[in-house]
Symmetry: C2
Subunit: 252 residues, 2 copies
DNA sequence: GCAAGGCAAAATTTATAAATTTTTTTTGGA
DNA sequence: TCCAAAAAAAATTTATAAATTTTGCCTTGC
């Protein structure tokens, strides 16, 4: 992995994630990599779109070399598809991939949560409690009337989930879970019914926390897996509708 | 992921792996990537070594851009460490990482094997049988007297293990397992007692196959996990000895 | 006299610009 | 309408330039 100059060691999750966003990267390639990645994850660069260097150099204000490096990194993460001699494309989405990613996430995060709980320490449990508290008191939508995505909620949501599995004792596994989270984030962004109003996500989080603090491994894992299934089901429903409305059935 | 022009779809594993090696890649960057990767995995480029562009351009006969792209891909796979503004290094090894990778591989491949068996089909079981047969009749060492690594055995060994988990129905999970296998291969290459003469690896493979064909999930998973533990224990022992002999204790 | 700090030169990494190769599109003819 | 050749566009690679880090030497202070 790339290491920026002053990056800190494995420690306080909150601090680490906060630092990442504020810290200005040392090289253009890394800066472009991060901007490209968020643009892809938030589907400002829509799935399947061709990423022409000409367009990218203008839009990201960088030369070909740093862009090429960024694209090559994203290629290994399967967010960008590089076809030899014919350029780069944003990885297309598909119902099939959504199902596969969700299934995998359930398996792997279930495993990771089980191990996290096996290694439970007071510090970890307290960090989880705090993360949940912060998430709980942050509004899901910026506008109480109609849904408007709140980036702060998204950030805290991710931290909470990362913390759940972050005590499992395997950095490779944590990295894999992060990658799955990235790849799934695109589908959430795509879903128009982003608020999930009919569903009480907050309650699900609270239930998971409760089971973890009660050291009930079976229940915690069951709830977490159910949480991901629910999310995927709502998105699946949404995407199918969207596809039907816009006649994009073939694309999915 | 990168896709070469005529790459085939998910299908016959043996054919796929064979094709990969024979097919000439379309771009220099990909060619360099593959050569660099094997040189790192077989520790011809030793852990911790600085990868200077000057050296690399001469040794791999390519310009800076394709090399830089290759290094950036390897960086995402955690086989190369890129320090901003100060170059690239082969990822160092450590007993700690070996333990972490092994632990993770046991968890994840155990999971994947369970799912593979849940999806068992006659075709899959027959492919497994054939892969094991081929592995069994290939000598571990090219020289019957003293150990000399047989690349064909290595290839067939990898195919057998890949096939075990290859029916799990999750391409992301399979990819993650491949990455773990890559990162562990370096440790096996480093171990001087490569032959594992005191241990009957062939018998372990046969036992795993038997349990799989008998549809005994618990036993198969147990044997596979044990197999990886054994391997790691031998390598750990070896590396500790090597470290003690050469006074490299600090490096590990 | 020796160590610490700082300045300047050298080496190295990073980025831009230009050249080359490959693919795609267009055009003209059968 | 289909095929082939030429032109255009785009991707890949090399070459050149800029920025950063490292190294060595010199000065300064103890």
């Amino acid at each position: 992995m790339y290491r920026k100059s002053g990056e800190m060691e494995w420690g306080n999750m909150t601090t680490e994630l906060q630092a990442k966003s504020s810290e200005s990267p040392a090289t253009l390639a890394t800066s472009v990599y991060e901007r490209l990645k968020t643009d892809i994850l938030e589907t400002r660069l829509e799935p399947g779109r061709k990423l022409q260097l000409r367009f990218l150099t203008e839009h990201y204000d960088a030369g070909q070399t740093p862009l090429r490096e960024a694209l090559n990194r994203l290629t290994t993460e399967d967010l960008v598809i590089g076809k030899e001699q014919r350029g780069f494309f944003v990885k297309p989405v598909s119902l099939e991939e959504l199902r596969e990613l969700t299934k995998t996430r359930r398996w792997v995060e279930g495993l990771a949560l089980k191990e996290s709980m096996a290694n439970a320490t007071p510090e970890w449990e307290e960090a989880l409690l705090v993360a949940h508290h912060r998430l709980e008191r942050t509004p899901r939508s910026l506008d109480p009337e109609k849904f408007e995505n709140n980036p702060e909620w998204e950030r805290l949501h991710r931290i909470f989930h990362a913390l759940l599995i972050g005590n499992c004792g395997s950095r490779p596994l944590i990295g894999f879970c992060e990658q799955l989270a990235d790849r799934l984030q695109r589908y959430r962004a795509l879903s128009s019914r982003k608020a999930f109003r009919v569903r009480n996500v907050a309650q699900e989080h609270a239930d998971i926390l409760k089971a973890v603090l009660q050291r009930d491994v079976g229940e915690a894992v069951r709830l977490l897996e159910h949480h991901y299934s629910q999310t995927a089901d709502f998105i699946l429903e949404d995407l199918k509708n969207a596809a039907a409305l816009h006649g994009k059935a073939a694309a999915l």
